[in-house]
């Protein structure tokens, strides 16, 4: 497919898909709590409503931070779809996350400040796992590019089974799901109110929500990568990972940031590194 057409298609379809998945999430969460829940289109209503609100900003940087967050999320997804370098993609993604954190830090509200500090810790928890997954791809293909994965003739999951688990955890942390919602909570408010998002309002919050739609599709794309040979199986894996985070969200309570960081740095990184070592020593595919 023509890369420009593919990119344009991604720009249109990704937010629709991401929004629908988020709506499904709210519906499933409500059903798990024995409630009826909002319509599936609710995330779109929320974004539309936020766009129509009076613009209120504490400083001019907040708007810059929110738009850069959206731009980097879109760019990262485009790089993924167009088969670019995965390592650069992760840097772009991290840049967006840092922008959001700076936006949170730019306001002197204790909720926003504390939320941003905790968001840094959340980044500390999930970034290594994303990088390790890309290292796993490199070990097998000899390249960091996303296209090299598609060139493989057997699914990555066979050699990288642990990464299905770690990617699920990463989705949970990225979406601020329990027990990882230390910096802000995905649905409800917690003791930091809305944590890092507290001081973003109106259009800024709408941009951040839109960025979440793109980011969700990107993260699920990473899971899909684990079984790229049959896109149906890949999609099923991605959905399974997504629904496990929803289930986890509903059956667990929030843990502290200390637990989050130590858990991810021992179990998460430990298992991922063990998986990489196994690939390196035993399963190393002859190039």
């Amino acid at each position: 497919m023509n890369p420009i057409a593919l990119g344009a298609l991604t720009l249109v379809i990704a937010p629709i898909l991401g929004g629908l998945l988020m709506g499904l999430d709210r519906r499933i969460t409500a059903r798990l709590q024995n409630r009826l829940g909002p319509p599936i289109l609710q995330p779109f209503y929320d974004v539309g409503k936020l766009m129509g609100k009076q613009p209120v900003a504490c400083n001019s940087f907040q708007g810059v931070a929110a738009s850069l967050y959206l731009m980097t999320s879109v760019l990262a997804l485009l790089m993924f779809v167009l088969g670019q370098d995965l390592l650069v993609l992760l840097f772009v993604l991290a840049l967006g996350a840092v922008m959001l954190i700076l936006g949170g830090f730019s306001v002197k509200s204790p909720y926003s400040q504390l939320g941003s500090q905790r968001e840094v810790l959340q980044m500390l928890a999930y970034e290594p796992l994303l990088v390790l997954m890309v290292v796993g791809v490199y070990l097998q293909t000899g390249s960091f590019s996303a296209n090299s994965v598609l060139a493989l003739d057997r699914p990555l999951l066979l050699t990288m089974p642990i990464f299905l688990v770690t990617q699920t955890l990463v989705i949970g942390i990225k979406l601020h799901k329990s027990p990882f919602d230390v910096s802000a909570s995905h649905h409800a408010h917690q003791e930091l109110v809305r944590g890092i998002y507290t001081e973003f309002s109106g259009l800024q919050l709408a941009l951040i929500e839109l960025a979440h739609f793109y980011e969700l599709v990107l993260l699920l794309g990473f899971v899909w990568f684990l079984w790229h040979t049959n896109w149906l199986v890949g999609a099923a894996l991605a959905l399974a990972a997504y629904f496990s985070t929803i289930l986890m969200d509903n059956v667990t309570a929030r843990m502290t940031w200390r637990w989050l960081v130590s858990f991810m740095w021992t179990w998460g990184i430990g298992l991922a590194v063990a998986n990489l070592a196994a690939i390196y020593f035993m399963l190393r595919v002859p190039r």
Binding site: G37, K49, K53, Q54
Partner: protein
């Protein structure tokens, strides 16, 4: 009603402020979120943050201390917004009306759009009040009503 108007009607986010209630009204407000009443089916969410809120639910009386807080919260909410006063206390001061520190109801401190009487009002009444507040918010967004203007309620369906 355009797309924005529809989105606004479908996604009212609620801020609940307990000015000086006996907690009876607050329990009823919180009951709206439970599986029995589930206001989230209308897209309503209780978010404890004025900067994200569309509708302010106030319970309890206003006194010299909390009037400033209430004004502050109201000022922090971006337009379009609406205020619902819930319970006899928020309407007039209720049983606390004669207390030395009580200023009376919410009206007079901030403009009120919808009054929900009762001591305490039922969750159904609170939900109806919130739904009426959404209609007021729509009218205000379309420029029909000015924030402090008083007009008859013949508009709502």
């Amino acid at each position: 009603m355009g797309i924005l108007g529809k989105a606004r009607a479908k996604s009212p986010w609620i801020l609940h402020f307990d000015a000086g209630a006996c907690n009876g009204c607050d329990i009823e407000v919180i009951a709206c979120l439970t599986p029995v009443y589930d206001v989230e089916r209308f897209g309503m969410m209780n978010i404890g943050n004025p900067k994200h809120a569309d509708i302010l639910l106030v319970t309890g009386t206003c006194n010299l201390r909390n009037a400033r807080v209430l004004k502050n919260l109201y000022a922090q909410m971006p337009e379009p917004k609406a205020v619902v006063a819930i319970g006899a206390c928020a309407l007039s001061g209720g049983v606390f009306h004669e207390c030395y520190n009580v200023l009376g109801g919410v009206e007079g401190i901030i403009p009120v759009d919808v009054w929900v009487p009762g001591c305490a009002p039922k969750p159904e009444a609170i939900i109806e009040g919130a739904v009426m507040a959404v209609q007021r918010m729509q009218e205000r967004a379309s420029g029909k009503v000015q924030p402090s203007e008083d007009e008859s309620e013949d508009e709502h369906a």
